[in-house]
């Protein structure tokens, strides 16, 4: 399927989704849906580095928060419309992604994961001590009540996140089918052999961290408007890091479909649990589902389908990826 057709189909699906949500007449649907869609973007972004290249990033929250705090910083200076904030956040998070990549990509496996986790801690400390964006007190963003012609502002935010999610899966799918996608796969499999085959591994890894970071930043840009009150400890919270890893792993990491399925499934489960049980049970659900999947279906739901269809599932998801595979010793 060609990309314009792919985008068109998803726009139609998105349009139907939006229309149905409006028809339901309950704005809570938009509040819940926004979060699920936000995780579609985060999961897809994580998967570009984690799934395609095999580098596990535990710092998703940092990139997400960077996007959110870019919005806050700009809001304090002069409030801009969200469509303008998106590219700004993308640039900020993308640049940090590039920088992080440059500093840490010599590390592999668990060491890379720890370095990315450290990035989140460092950035949180910075934000806590930066008074302009509210410091540890947090920052208030006044969300407008209505916006023409959509109506309630939450519907507008939902729509933005919906378009962003479509954008993210389109980017992921484009990468998968391109030269870049093949290059990423060789990095995941064997970097020495990749170099020997002429793949410029460092440049590709930097491309991946930049794209991944930029997408995460974009997911965070509208967040202050959604939440109204932005607090460092929750914005840099573990939820984002864990969810953006768990969702692709549950869905399957070798294709753009995986993070999408994982985010829809796990994201909806969490939203339902928040309403029916309690909001604290969220991460417990993620933990249990993740453990179950790693043991029973290590290739994710996509892998399950591949096995079911008697095709060879791609031999590289979940279990092995999380191992601390050190760079192979040179023979």
């Amino acid at each position: 399927m060609r990309t314009p057709l792919f985008v068109l189909i998803w726009l139609v699906i998105g349009g139907v989704l939006f229309a149905v949500s409006v028809a339901l007449g309950n704005d809570y649907v938009f509040f819940a849906g926004y979060v699920v869609l936000q995780y579609v973007v985060l999961g897809t972004a994580w998967n570009i580095l984690g799934g395609y290249c095999g580098y596990v990033n535990f710092g998703s929250a940092a990139f997400f928060a960077l996007g959110a705090y870019s919005t806050v910083a700009i809001y304090k200076f002069y409030p801009l419309p969200i469509p303008l904030l998106l590219p700004i956040s993308a640039v900020v998070s993308g640049v940090v992604g590039f920088g992080m990549g440059y500093l840490t990509l010599r590390l592999r496996g668990a060491f890379f994961a720890i370095a990315t986790l450290a990035l989140a801690v460092v950035l949180e400390t910075l934000v806590v001590n930066w008074d302009y964006v509210g410091g540890s007190r947090g920052a208030y963003i006044i969300r407008p009540e209505e916006i023409e012609p959509i109506g309630n502002y939450i519907r507008y935010l939902f729509l933005i996140m919906l378009l962003l999610a479509i954008g993210a899966i389109t980017v992921a799918r484009l990468i998968e089918r391109s030269r870049l996608g093949y290059g990423f796969a060789t990095i995941r499999d064997d970097e020495l052999a990749a170099e020997a085959s002429g793949v410029p591994t460092l440049r590709l890894k930097l491309t991946a961290t930049t794209i991944s970071g930029a997408l995460m930043g974009m997911a965070g840009a509208p967040f202050p408007y959604y939440i109204g009150y932005l607090q460092p400890s929750s914005t840099f919270g573990l939820d984002y890091a864990v969810n953006s890893i768990a969702m692709p792993l549950i869905g399957g990491t070798t294709s753009w479909v995986g993070p999408l399925i994982g985010a829809l499934l796990l994201g909806s489960m969490q939203q339902i649990a928040t309403v029916t049980i309690s909001s604290a049970v969220n991460l417990l659900i993620v933990g249990c589902v993740l453990v179950a999947f790693v043991i029973v279906v290590p290739n994710g739901i996509i892998g399950l389908f591949h096995t079911y269809l008697q095709r060879k599932p791609d031999d590289f998801v979940g279990r092995r990826r999380l191992d601390a595979d050190l760079p192979g010793s040179v023979p």
């Binding site: 290059g183 060789t186 170099e195 085959s197 060879k312 590289f316 040179v330």
Partner: protein, 242 residues
């Protein structure tokens, strides 16, 4: 014939251990060179220094009229250096045909040879056919036998359309007829103008393949010349038989 590869006074240490010491070696374009030596004599280290996997501290490597020192491995591959690994290192999540596709997409394309997707596809199939793996084109490397894995390794190196191919122990552990298969492949490649350095323990294979033989012992080059003369060299005999 002109020099394709020129190694000058190359030295490499791992901490206090001298892996290679003052290696000087030149390989002419179109030559078939055998490189032998006992285990741990530095053969693979030399390959790694030539290909940029390891950085040497001393001396220089020139290839095709330009110095390689400081170039990263993939840049050397783009210049026309290809290698196979001692232990096959296929891309495990990619099918065989996609394994072959990588050098075509990244190395051949980087040289400015533009190919349409269809042509790349055909070229991949041709290469797989040449090594007899076309039937498994859409399988994953884990479905391969040991000899097939080595053929894949060679096919992937060939796909980069190299000027110089370094085959690092591509026959270890294979049967007589399998060795013959690989040798035939290498000779055919050489006839098309590719210079080949063969690193091997199996003497019968090395002797039948090489036009010239170089012996490394403890990181030093102790012999370099016609194969039949080199194996009669007392120093070589001593190194091998003690």
């Amino acid at each position: 014939m002109s020099e394709l590869l020129q190694i000058d006074n190359l030295g490499k240490r791992f901490g206090g251990f001298v892996a290679l010491e003052n290696i000087t070696l030149s390989v002419r374009a179109g030559e078939r060179l055998g490189l032998i030596g006992p285990n741990g004599s530095g053969k693979s280290t030399l390959v790694n220094c030539i290909c940029g996997t390891l950085r040497h501290e001393q001396g220089s490597v020139r290839f095709d009229g330009r110095t390689l020192d400081g170039l990263i491995a993939h840049q050397r591959t783009h210049l026309g250096l290809a290698r196979s690994f001692q232990l096959p290192r296929p891309f495990v999540s990619l099918s065989l045909i996609d394994n072959i596709r990588i050098p075509l997409l990244y190395t051949v394309a980087a040289r400015g040879t533009h190919r349409a997707a269809r042509e790349v596809e055909d070229r991949c199939s041709d290469l797989l056919r040449e090594v007899g793996l076309q039937a498994k084109a859409h399988h994953l490397p884990r479905d391969l036998t040991q000899v097939e894995m080595r053929k894949l390794e060679l096919a992937r190196a060939m796909a980069a359309e190299p000027k110089l191919l370094i085959a690092d122990e591509s026959m270890a552990g294979l049967t007589h007829s399998e060795i013959q298969d690989i040798l035939t492949l290498l000779v055919r490649l050489n006839e098309r103008g590719v210079t080949i350095i063969l690193i091997e323990h199996i003497m019968r294979a090395v002797m039948s393949f090489s036009q010239r033989l170089v012996v490394l012992v403890s990181g030093r080059k102790i012999a370099d010349g016609r194969p039949d003369e080199v194996v009669r060299n007392p120093e070589v005999e001593k190194a091998y038989l003690g």
